[in-house]
Amino acid sequence: MEQLLTANVATNLYWLGRYIERIEATLGQIMIAYDQIIDVDKNAGITLYENFSTELEYTNAKDFLQKAIFGEHAANIAVLAGYARENAIICRNHINTQAFGEIIALNALFQKSSNSFVDIDYKLIDEAGSLISEMWGEISKTEYKRISDYFLRLGQLIEKADFNFRFDEEKETGIIIIDEINKILANLEADKETNVEQTQTQEMDYEVIINNIHKKIQDLIID
């Protein structure tokens, strides 16, 4: 029997996947920039945040970490973790219990650090990375066979595609991601038109493709 989901749960699963992936990918980029700022390129953080359409100012590597994670901008990791927590609470009975716990712990980690007088350092990012890895590990135990997993995975992949586009990473990776998105969309019983033509992927504007996918996903969930 097919798994039943309300539109609200499907949407929250999708956004949960997006936020968690966004946090993980952003933290990865932050660590690269942090390392550069120390003694290679003082402006590495500025360049990084231009990709997020954010002007970030900082005095040194440690200050960069603080501003990147807790600064007043749309890529604030603590805020994203709060959003992910909210998504998880709404759809908690459709996600693995341990994975749910990791998401709550992830948010608690950032909230605690944001209220702490102690400067944050790389350990916070390491710890967050571990929680996220554990979360995906728990979820992957079901081998993405349930509809709820598809929505979560869809959110994760869209975010991966978005990062791939923003950071101008290898087009081949982008094609693989879109291929996987297509497979999931097919599994979600989307009609043929939902699929994004793979042959066009290399020629078309990548941003158009991603926006196209966003639209298809919106159409898939009927409130």
Partner: protein, 454 residues
């Protein structure tokens, strides 16, 4: 005052003395990590918080619980018969066992539902009965019946799993009744009364105080957790709206909202958490509601007074479990007694719940007592008076010390094809010494309850 320690308690303390007490903190960590919350609204703000938990369980012997079980089964059977009778033939009123005026003035009585009989004539599907153990007679006394939307079962369910992980020795060495079956009781009852279709748990939403419980129970019962707008009523049938636009028939709804909010077309038109048309579907016999609409009349503290009479009337039996001695100022002789003894009585507003509207005569000034008498005189039906029950304290491990606190016990009774009493319950304790109010909404904490045998 504590209960006399028996062999079961001794066995518990023996094992407890060998446990690492540092690990007690892990309970809180676990509850925080899994957001096992009972939320509060304070000064207009939504506060997410975990319910205070105490590691020392309430221990009830299997033999003692067996008597509680029989008493509760008897009580729920009688209450179900009362509600069914009241909303159909009303024989109990016609025969003068319960005064008509008394029923009609109960805020939970819904005369619009007169003549309607729900699926399988079951109205009291999921019930929370509040009891205390009286120190004078060393016996269990019923304080309150909750036949509308009793909450709290998910907390002991969740904590038991954690307890087993943190302190497995207790469960290895003692004979403690397992409790995991409770959601399956509800599921079976839902299936039994179902009018054909899937089971859903209807929640007011994310910001309800018991949202965790709604979510937890839905998951454990394989039911869909839905908010009102995720259901739609078409041709007096209820449908679940799937994400892809498909509509799936709903046969049974475990609703976690009060009658007043359940259907804006029938009850409060301002309700945003109700399903328009749900009552029509219910009255057409196309969907089962757990619990039935109109049960509030039986939760009325004034009607509570008549439950022993109901047991006698419907079952021809004497009550196994007794009420607290209760007086109805509605009756002249009771009014006189209440006025003469008001300073030693507990006065309750009949329509309130959750520890609200409870006044202790011994805590009130002369002026306050006079005001209360005036209020009682003006509207005697609104109040009941009870003798103050001195109930046992339970040992609690608070701030790394053992302290005595007043504790009650909410037992859960599920009625489907048969009447099942969960071999656990919610033991609630007051956070302050000497406080008689243990309700979660009054800041009380909870303990696990172990039904044990040697």
């Amino acid at each position: 005052m504590l209960e006399t320690e028996n062999e079961l308690h001794k066995k518990f303390w023996e094992i407890f003395s060998k446990q690492d007490r540092q690990k007690i903190d892990e309970f809180k960590t676990h509850m925080d990590k899994f957001a096992i919350n009972f939320n509060l609204y304070k000064d207009g703000n939504f506060i997410e918080r975990s319910l205070p938990f105490d590691v020392i369980p309430r221990i009830i012997s299997k033999e003692e619980f067996s008597k509680i079980e029989k008493g509760l089964q008897q009580r729920i059977q009688a209450l179900n018969l009362f509600l069914e009778d009241l909303y159909t033939d009303a024989k109990i009123v016609k025969e003068g066992i319960v005064p008509q005026e008394f029923v009609e003035q109960a805020s939970g009585y819904l005369k619009e539902f007169k003549g309607f009989s729900p699926s399988k004539k079951i109205r009291t599907h999921i019930n929370g009965i509040d009891l205390v153990k009286d120190t004078v007679n060393d016996s269990w006394v019923i304080l309150e019946d909750n036949l509308r939307v009793p909450s709290g079962s998910s907390y002991p369910l969740s904590i038991r799993d954690t307890y087993r992980k943190i302190y497995p020795d207790f469960f290895e060495q003692l004979k403690i009744e397992p409790i995991k079956q409770y959601p399956s009781y509800i599921k079976s009852a839902m299936n039994y009364v179902s009018c054909g279709g899937i089971n859903v748990v209807l929640t007011p939403g994310r910001f309800n105080s018991a949202y965790y419980e709604h979510s937890y129970l839905a998951q454990e019962m394989d039911a869909q957790l839905v908010r009102a707008h995720e259901l739609v009523v078409i041709d007096k049938k209820v449908y679940f709206k799937n994400y892809n636009g498909k509509r799936i028939r709903v046969g049974s709804i475990y609703r976690r909202l009060d009658d007043d909010f359940i259907d804006p077309k029938f009850f409060n038109p301002e309700s945003l958490i109700g399903v328009p048309g749900l009552v029509e579907a219910y009255l057409a016999g196309n969907v089962a509601l757990m619990n039935a609409i109109g049960n509030g009349v039986a939760d009325d503290k004034g009607i509570y007074y008549f439950v022993p009479k109901m047991i006698k009337y419907y079952l021809g039996e004497d009550p196994i479990l007794h009420n607290a001695p209760t007086y109805l100022p509605y009756f002249k002789e009771d009014m006189e007694y209440v006025f003469n003894n008001i300073e030693k009585l507990v006065i309750k507003d009949v329509a309130e719940a959750g520890g609200y509207g409870v006044l202790f005569g011994h805590e009130m000034s002369t002026l306050q007592l006079e005001d209360l008498k005036t209020a009682i005189k003006a509207n005697p039906r609104r109040f009941i008076a009870q003798e103050l029950i001195e109930f046992y304290d339970e040992k609690c491990y608070l701030d790394k010390e053992l302290k005595d606190r007043k504790a009650d016990f909410r037992a859960y009774v599920v009625m489907g094809e048969d009447i099942k009493v969960w071999q656990c319950g919610l033991t609630r304790y007051a956070l302050e010494a000497g406080n008689y109010l243990v309700n979660s909404s009054q800041g009380g904490g909870f303990k696990d309850t172990w039904v044990m045998e040697l």
